[in-house]
């Protein structure tokens, strides 16, 4: 009974097929035979099937047991011992390699974590630096625009918080300066035209003076004539009465000369009057011009003083603003240097990642593949030794085909030295440990970073 049950257990999957094979030739006749015939036939089918299984199908091989009375040959024992020894060694090696691989993977994980952390830091540094640069550039622009815009009272707290008057922007300042200069020019023009009038007046005075001189010349010549006549009359008065006629003529001449002299006097008086009038007019004009010149000078002085003060303050404001812009420019330069250093860190991390990806990961996966292959080979050998069904093996491990096969481990018969060969060697990049740069902090490390031979 037990063998039959064993057979049924072994061929349980084939029982359905066997049943169908036996029932189909009989099933078609069910419609034509009485029910008791069908029942009897069915009752006979079952033992037929069991007999088929028992007598026809091959019996499963019984597992060999140590206590089996059958003789196990020494060769088989030796082979089994050898296989078990090999398996033991392989398992020990597998354990060792697994431990080393695990250590390497831990190291790899640590390095990857380090790389990722450093990359994050670099990116954050770069981002912060860019943000700082943007802010400072905007502030520079505000300072520059502030020079061009009018500030209201109290708006500018940078000037020590003092309340300041409404400062002109640069364009307004230039416009006001231009207007002031124009007004000064106009005043000077007026002064200049007044000077011209005065020059004309003086011209007239000069002409009158020339006329007076001419008249005085005539008076002089008249005086000469009168003296000549006087001399002649004294000579004639000392002579006889025969010369009375000449005396009368002389008296007439003297009368004419006297009339001329009177006329000359009148004319001279007229000229002198006109000179006096012109001198008065000139004096008035000069006074007026002097007043205007005084006023113009006073106003110009005040305007220039105001302009000077304003210009000094504006210059000071511009200088302060330029100082701030310059300081921001230097800070921006430092931020840019930080970005350059951070980008180098990122580049170094990227190279690290590439170095980790290639050799280390490939070697680890290759090692695992090799172990799997060797294990499969050994399991086949073991199955053959144990005597399983021909062609039966343990289900092999599957490894992803993307990794290339690594060099095979040394066989168990050789030695256990293969573990050292299979150990993946993560490359360390020397001198990389992070010195996070800060502004000017590179100076402290510059001696270590630079060496001139």
């Amino acid at each position: 009974m037990k063998p039959l049950l064993a057979l049924l257990h072994v061929y349980r999957s084939k029982l359905v097929v066997i049943g169908l094979i036996l029932l189909v030739p009989w099933a078609w006749a069910l419609a034509f035979v009485p029910w008791w015939v069908s029942l009897a036939s069915l009752a006979l089918v079952v033992p037929a099937a069991l007999s088929f299984v028992y007598f026809v199908l091959p019996a499963p091989q019984a597992p060999r047991r140590v206590n089996d009375s059958e003789n196990i040959s020494n060769e088989e024992i030796a082979r089994m011992r050898e296989t078990c020894t090999g398996m033991n060694e392989l398992l020990a090696e597998w354990l060792s390699v697994s431990q080393k691989t695990q250590a390497n993977l831990e190291e790899l994980k640590r390095q990857l974590h380090e790389v990722i952390t450093d990359t994050e830091s670099s990116v954050i540094d770069i981002s912060n630096s860019f943000r700082a640069i943007t802010g400072k550039t905007r502030t520079q622009m505000d300072y520059a625009m502030g020079l061009l815009q009018t500030k209201q009272q109290g708006e500018d707290a940078d000037f020590d918080g003092d309340a300041v008057a409404k400062w002109l922007s640069l364009p307004d300042y230039i416009r006001a300066y231009e207007e002031l200069l124009n007004s000064i020019t106009e005043r000077l023009m007026r002064f200049s035209s007044g000077s011209l009038d005065m020059v004309k007046q003086q011209g007239k005075v000069r002409e009158s003076a020339i006329m007076v001189v001419d008249l005085l010349d005539e008076v002089r010549s008249m005086a000469r004539q009168i003296s000549m006549l006087a001399l002649s009359s004294s000579v004639s008065a000392g002579g006889t009465l025969t010369h009375q006629k000449e005396f009368v003529e002389m008296a007439d001449k003297i009368r004419d000369i006297s009339d001329n002299a009177n006329d000359l006097n009148r004319r001279i008086r007229e000229y002198l009057d006109s000179i006096r009038d012109e001198m008065s007019a000139t004096h008035g004009a000069m006074n007026k011009m002097a007043d205007e010149a005084r006023e113009a000078a006073k106003q110009a002085k005040a305007d220039v003083a105001q302009l000077t003060v304003t210009m000094m303050m504006k210059t000071q404001e511009v200088a302060q603003t330029l100082e701030r812009i310059n300081a921001l420019g230097q800070e921006i330069e430092r931020d840019i240097n930080n970005i350059i250093v951070a980008m180098q860190f990122q580049d170094i991390n990227q190279q690290k990642l590439e170095r980790l990806k290639g050799p280390v990961l490939n070697e680890v996966s290759g090692t695992i593949r090799t172990i799997v292959d060797e294990t499969n080979v050994l399991s086949k050998k073991l199955n053959l030794q144990v005597g399983g069904p021909p062609g039966a093996t343990l289900r092999p491990f599957r490894v992803a085909a993307s990794t290339p096969p690594a060099k095979p481990l040394a066989m168990p018969a050789a030695s256990g030295a293969s573990a050292a060969e299979a150990k993946p060697q993560p490359e360390k990049v020397q001198g990389e440990r992070k010195q996070r740069p800060t502004n000017g902090a590179g100076d402290a490390d510059s001696d270590n970073q630079v060496e001139l031979f």
């Binding site: 840019i336 240097n337 350059i340 250093v341 980008m343 180098q344 860190f345 990122q346 580049d347 170094i348 990227q350 190279q351 990049v429 020397q430 001198g431 990389e432 740069p437 590179g442 100076d443 510059s446 270590n448 970073q449 630079v450 060496e451 001139l452 031979f453």
Partner: protein, 120 residues
């Protein structure tokens, strides 16, 4: 200002060096490898050469050795710019003929200072 050759297989690093030196007024030519650098030095005379050490093909130290064998580059300043800082590597660079050794990442101000010293 000087004509400088920057040799590095990393594009980012070449750009950082070029950016730093160009802003200081120098003219910079880039090479991706030692072999490309050798081709470039034969066409132009450079005042200074800055090279990485670890590059595919001809590495930086071999490049320096090759350049020093050329008469026109016998006295040209050559700086190594690398992540390595071991003393034996520095000595190897010095023996090959390097003028100086700068460890990455470099600070732009420090690089410009070194340039000023070696270029006089």
């Amino acid at each position: 200002m000087a004509l400088i050759l920057a040799v590095d297989d990393s594009t980012t690093m070449r750009q950082m060096v070029s950016f730093t030196l160009t802003n200081a007024g120098h003219e910079v030519v880039e090479a991706r490898s030692g072999d490309e650098a050798i081709k470039l030095v034969k066409t132009r005379k450079f005042d200074l050469i800055i090279s990485d050490v670890n590059m595919p093909g001809m590495n930086g130290i071999e490049l320096i050795r090759t350049l020093r064998a050329m008469p026109e580059y016998k006295f040209t300043p050559m700086l190594m710019l690398t992540t390595e800082s071991q003393a034996d590597r520095k000595q190897e660079g010095k023996s090959a003929g390097a003028t100086g050794w700068i460890v990455k990442p470099f600070n732009p101000e420090v690089l410009l200072s070194v340039l000023g010293k070696v270029l006089g």
